[in-house]
Symmetry: C2
Subunit: 326 residues, 2 copies
């Protein structure tokens, strides 16, 4: 394994992706006020953030517009009402789940849309459906990435087979997604190396999307980066499902390319995410998330524990053992 | 650089050091109730923790007993009232600051004391005074370690010179101390390798004491470990000055030696540290600590900011720039 650059290098392959509205939306059912989204878009432009993910392109057959805010659906007109028509430095991304996106209707030709990048989220067993979506979106003119979720539960030989299939599509990058926040820096390096070897063969890049269950989201992100990853997901104040994500302000403070600036993001924390927290929206490292991370399992029971304001960590650990083994 | 072991190895050189009362005492002036300290001692024994640090052996010429709780001074009789006389698996440690310890009076012969290990804390410029203390404590019969603080501000050639002097003393281990929480995993590995090379020459071990300013305390601890460190400092719920430390529960959940168990520590969080937090004792990752970490500077202004319940992060970052450059 070889490092790409050192602590003072500027790596021009790096793309910082702000996923605050998308992953953070999982904490508040995508109910952000327009001022937050608009301020964040402006801050991302100032901070040098390369992409801002606005939410999901979810199918309205699966999710009701009564139950979720508009960023669950990311209609083109809603994005345009935030970003306007002027060209900007920060590109626009949305996430599209395999199997729950009505892509043939909702993903219109790129030249009619403010969206630049469609991030296709899949599990290892739905790769052929992901390939279909990649090819559809590419044909419509979009950049695409593929986010293979729950990598800590996937077998190495399956990941390699999947990446070799995906290498033959127009996708730009293969994402390592640590959905359960269970991987360690040593594994982040190894995965970056393994993904990178196949990516190089097909002239693709590698990305990382980390969760903070074990306070390792930032560490795993920069370690994967050091060993080759280029697309780096982060969110303001780590906002995201359960233990949340790699904090954008930690990442921007680490990167050496002078185009990246942490200050505009501090303003967003001050004016927006701190307020959400004060209003009771919950995310971030906590003991039950640590336990689901250590157990390499979905954070669902931990989210429930935190929601119920329980504090009996010992019992929870005991219950978790049964949940996983039942 | 070579890894020592992999993610499934049991490393018999590992010593987990619980520093909750000592580093955590900096958050509440060492005012822990006896039940906390006693429960923690029992939990550490059950959890397989190798050492429990009870506090400082501070000189009463420098610090008043009216202003601080008893664990600032760690009188032998106070420790004995917690641990009794029965032999236990967890050994007892105290910290002694170079220049602020009346060691010739306060550190009595080991055979009259419950203390096993004296951890001598020094800056790079007071190594000769540290050597004097190591030799004194060793002569009294104690194990010793040397904690060279603020390593991120020390020059490599000075660190090497210091370690070569310390190698000739009876000290057991050289500690990497990231006082400002500013080092990255890549640097933790490099420091572990550099300390380890000199340690090997003198048959010493290496330790790491990390701070969580950039959410890297756990990552840096396990990375330094993977590249050779044996003494690993951690605290319950990361309790410690400012952003706090490596969380003991994260570390115990990571280690593979079956003697280490996380469950007893969950009980301590549930019954003690959660309550301290609810009572308003403050520690843990927060934006101002992130900034002092990124700036590689003492957390003092950040501690003040948090104490004052300020939320204007942008102004703080701006002020910090002036504080550091004035």
């Amino acid at each position: 394994m070889a490092q790409k650059g050192d602590l003072l290098s500027v790596r021009h392959d790096i793309r910082v992706v702000d996923a605050t509205i998308r992953d953070g939306g999982l904490c508040n059912d995508f109910r952000f006020d327009d001022k937050f989204v608009s301020d964040l878009y402006k801050a991302n432009n100032k901070a040098g953030v390369d992409y801002m993910e606005f939410g999901y392109k979810a199918s309205r057959d699966f999710f009701s517009e009564d139950k979720f805010g508009k960023w669950k659906f990311c209609k083109d007109e809603d994005i345009r009402s935030i970003v306007g028509d002027a060209p900007s430095k920060t590109k626009i991304a949305v996430m599209a789940d395999v199997g729950r996106t009505d892509f043939e209707n909702d993903i219109i030709p790129k030249n009619e849309s403010p969206i630049d990048l469609v991030r296709i989220a899949t599990y290892i067993n739905t790769i052929p459906a992901a390939v279909e979506m990649i090819e559809y979106c590419a044909k419509q003119g979009y950049e695409t990435t593929i986010n293979i979720m729950a990598v800590s539960k996937a077998r190495t030989e399956d990941i390699k087979a999947a990446l070799n299939i995906l290498g033959q599509t127009p996708v730009s990058a293969f994402y390592i997604v640590d959905s359960y926040g269970s991987i360690y820096p040593e594994e982040a390096r190894r995965l970056a190396d393994m993904y990178g070897e196949i990516a190089d063969k097909y002239n693709k890049l590698v990305g990382i999307h980390a969760h903070n269950n074990q306070q390792l989201a930032f560490a795993n992100t920069i370690e994967a980066m050091t060993y080759g990853a280029s697309y780096l997901d982060a969110t303001v104040d780590g906002m995201g499902r359960g233990a949340g994500n790699c904090s954008l302000e930690l990442l921007l403070g680490f990167l050496k390319n002078p185009k990246y600036k942490v200050y505009p993001i501090l303003k967003i924390i001050e004016e927006h995410t701190s307020k959400l927290k004060a209003q009771g929206v919950k995310w971030g490292y906590d003991i039950p998330y640590m336990l689901t991370g250590q157990f390499n399992t979905h954070p669902r029971p931990a989210i429930q524990f935190v929601k119920e304001d329980r504090g009996d960590y010992f019992n929870f650990a005991n219950e978790l053992y049964d949940i996983i083994n039942s």
